[in-house]
């Protein structure tokens, strides 16, 4: 007889003891009735679909700090991390929290869209309730200082002659950098399947591959490579987006006639599906008050994000448009089956 069964009575005693201790604690109450006026009546949870220290996490923690630190709400805000599959795991979790106005999630329009398309995820970003777009981080196209290429036109011309030889390096596959490069190629009539685009984890790797001479041209968010640009080690050929960031002397893609190719990912907040109009408006209004605080402005500055404000349906429209664009490009590149 195994010892576990032989000593049955004592095991039962142990379990009873545990149960007694447990019952001393209160049974959690879940109040589901949410009057939009009194929102939030209990603690909020913000989900970051990436790991601690990443961009989504930074936005979630920045929001949490602004909401409580600058006294927008009295309830507490907790940040949970659900990393995995380019955000798809966090996304699936949000869909599962349908109708819960106390669960928010930070995300990016393009990175997220790319991840969801790529992983053939059954749930898309558009199934969530859009709350607001809050930040953008401009990206730049750069070459090493010793590169023979002086402008984007000559890069594209060389790429036209030998698509494979013009090696690009940038952020993750299906992310804004990749989509921009593929769109540029398409605009010049270069077969998109022939381009060499090496995806990396981001700024640091892009820098190394450019400075070591492995890759010819790179793309990265400005924040991550600004010091190298200022030190004269990298030359900026173009800026994605429509606006020139401060202190940077280079044309935007729009100036160069590639306006349609530029894809700028917008970082924002989403809520689960199935919210009432009142609940949605209450959350949007809370985020609106949050973005005006000094706490949030400090977060923007720390991360070198540019503030935007795309509330509610404006954000939803942007997501839909960019998702279609991403899906189209990925299809051209041959990444979707």
């Amino acid at each position: 007889m195994p010892p576990l069964l032989r000593n049955g009575p004592r095991v039962v005693l142990t379990v009873t003891l545990l149960a007694t201790v447990s019952s001393a604690c209160t049974i959690g109450s879940a109040d589901d009735s949410t009057a939009a006026a009194g929102y939030p009546s209990r603690g909020l949870s913000i989900l970051a679909p990436g790991s601690v220290g990443g961009g989504w996490d930074a936005r979630a923690r920045g929001m949490s700090a602004a909401l409580t630190g600058c006294k927008i709400i009295d309830e507490d805000v907790t940040v949970t991390n659900k990393p995995g599959a380019g955000g798809a795991i966090g996304l699936a979790r949000m869909v599962g929290r349908s109708g819960d106005p106390y669960q928010l999630m930070t995300m990016d329009t393009v990175t997220m869209a790319g991840g969801a398309v790529q992983n053939d995820s059954p749930v898309g970003l558009s199934s969530l309730t859009p709350i607001a777009g809050l930040t953008v981080s401009p990206s730049v196209i750069v070459v090493p200082a010793r590169s023979p290429y002086r402008d984007l036109t000559s890069v594209m011309a060389a790429m036209k002659r030998n698509p494979k030889g013009m090696s690009w390096v940038g952020g993750s596959l299906g992310g804004p950098d990749h989509i921009t490069v593929a769109s540029l190629a398409k605009a010049r009539g270069i077969p998109v399947k022939k381009i060499t685009y090496v995806p990396t984890g981001g700024g640091g790797e892009v820098l190394n591959l450019l400075l070591s001479g492995a890759s010819k041209v790179g793309m990265s968010t400005l924040t991550e490579i600004r010091p190298q640009i200022e030190a004269g080690k990298l030359r900026v050929l173009a800026i994605s987006g429509d606006e020139r960031p401060e202190g940077l002397n280079a044309p935007t893609l729009k100036d160069l006639g590639y306006g349609g190719s530029s894809v700028v990912s917008t970082g924002g907040v989403m809520a689960p599906p199935g919210l009432s109009d009142g609940e949605r408006r209450a959350i949007v209004s809370m985020v609106d008050r949050m973005r005006r605080t000094s706490c949030w402005k400090r977060t923007l500055k720390q991360n070198d994000w540019r503030a935007v404000w795309l509330p509610d349906t404006k954000f939803g429209t942007l997501i839909d448009r960019q998702q279609k664009q991403v899906a189209q490009v990925l299809n051209d590149v041959g990444l979707t089956s």
């Binding site: 576990l4 095991v11 447990s22």
Partner: protein
Amino acid sequence: MSTPQAIQQPWGPRVAALLFLAAGVVVLGWAFAIPERATDQDVGPRAFPLLVGMGLCVSATFSTVQAFRGADREQTEQAREEARLTDWGPVAALLGLLVGYLFALTPCGYWQSTAVLFTLVARVLGSRKPLRDAAVGLVLALAVYILFDRLLGIHLPPGIIRLAF
């Protein structure tokens, strides 16, 4: 001489080698299922898995042959010694507890399941003081839960019964 030796041979090395071989076959088989997509890349997503699968199959085949012939004396000796000293009951019990814990964690909550796990693991490993174990387990589990969930902000499943604070 080789026949009695073969009979006495412990089964451990053979099972292990066959498991490695099976893993190799799985890796290799699934490698062919990875679609090489239409991008013009010189080395696609299938190349490395093929290489690893073949490497695993070849080395596992060597190991299997050695295990069945008992050619690796050091290994055979070790496995025989292990077989003599192994008692499978507690191993199965411990494994059962861990699997049960896996399924209990989310519905029953972290500290509740952990307190029970601690008590029962100590029991399986020969402890004869269940009350002490339960007390230690409960204190440990609660301390960990409060530290992680409340102080560090790393969330553990609360379960049905929640703490009052």
